[in-house]
Symmetry: C2
Subunit: 217 residues, 2 copies
């Protein structure tokens, strides 16, 4: 998956290129940041994504600026980042963040085949809430037509990972400054049912699974 | 802060341009995604930032590719995103995410004045851990020289915010599909002290403040 542009240059020992590492970072997130060139220059926007195999899917309204540019085959960069902790060192210089991030480069293509597009929608839904696709109402023709689905191969991609304690200079170790890591995590809170929920409708399996996936601490 | 390019076009009712909204989203985050053009096309990378007034500061190694491009005045886009919940609707079409995001456009400039650069470093540190600047060892000359500090004005920026329950179609309200919001939040775990911490060194105020800022649920 390594390529010239998908190579970690700054602190290369933090770089990784194996699919297992890259996929695991993608799969623990569902929001990516997409970078592309508009007429006025670079743009970064957050959006949902879903992964299956060596593809990520993006979607959105047929009228959305970003999708109109990307489906034309414009070069794109997609970043996905997990923040795992704040690294507090004895010196400011060695302060850092523990993170796991992926950057993908390539060109997206629009998924136009009906079955493949429906499958892309399923991947997007189930990436966020595994199993949800079977629970909710499927798209009707108008909704299906208003939505654009894009796919982007994960063939030029790199991961960058920092883990562990601060790396202080030896001469700083005697300082009586607290140093260590504050772990950070994403958690789900108690689900808030919609006001108009039909009486007796209980949490569905995909919602239960989400609570288990992002447990409260 | 609105400009032609910093205008929310898709679902414009979710757009906001007032500094209070924009600053509050920036201040509840410390990782941004920076988009710029390299020779080979668009790049998005995650990095730390700090805000003070109408400026954000970025920093990094003098050798880093991104900083070399940005300090040359290349156009840049910076996105900051809070994910606040997963919105599960009765139909797939109305599934969504509750989020608060900011996108900034502009050009960064390198901070070269020594006092201003030191101040930028302080803003970056204290944005993540308020008060930490007074606790840890200040940069020495070598560290100071190896670090590049950039500033970017927040004068072309927009926020986009989605809050609240799913917006299902009326005819779907009778479906017995669970619908509602799974709130999402970032929390801090128990601090992990460095193995080589001096005996008797207790948590410092900035670390205590971080635990209060991102409380466990």
């Amino acid at each position: 998956m390594k390529s010239e542009r998908a190579t970690v240059r700054r602190l290369p020992e933090r770089g990784a290129y194996d699919p297992e590492t890259i996929y695991s970072i993608l799969d623990e997130n569902f929001v990516c940041h997409v970078g592309f060139n508009a007429d006025h220059g670079p743009v970064v926007l957050p959006t949902l994504f879903g992964r299956e195999g060596d593809l990520i899917y993006l979607h959105g309204s047929a009228g959305a600026h970003m999708l109109r540019i990307l489906k034309g085959g414009a070069p794109v960069s997609v970043a996905v980042t997990s923040v795992n902790g704040i690294v507090a060192a004895r010196s400011h210089f060695h302060h850092s963040i523990n993170y796991r991030s992926v950057v993908i480069f390539g060109q997206a293509t629009e998924v136009t085949d009906v079955q493949e597009k429906l499958h892309g929608m399923e991947v997007l839904t189930n990436h966020v809430l595994p199993g949800r696709w079977e629970e909710a109402r499927q798209p009707n023709t108008v909704e299906f037509t208003q939505t654009v689905v894009l796919k982007l191969p994960i063939d030029e991609a790199s991961a960058k990972v920092r883990v562990g304690p601060p790396k202080d200079d030896d001469e700083d170790l005697e300082l009586d400054v607290w140093a260590g890591v504050i772990p950070m995590a994403t958690v789900a809170g108690a689900p808030v049912p919609d006001d108009q929920l039909q009486a007796g409708t209980s949490l569905s399996p995909s919602i239960e699974a989400a609570l288990a996936r992002w447990p409260s601490r």
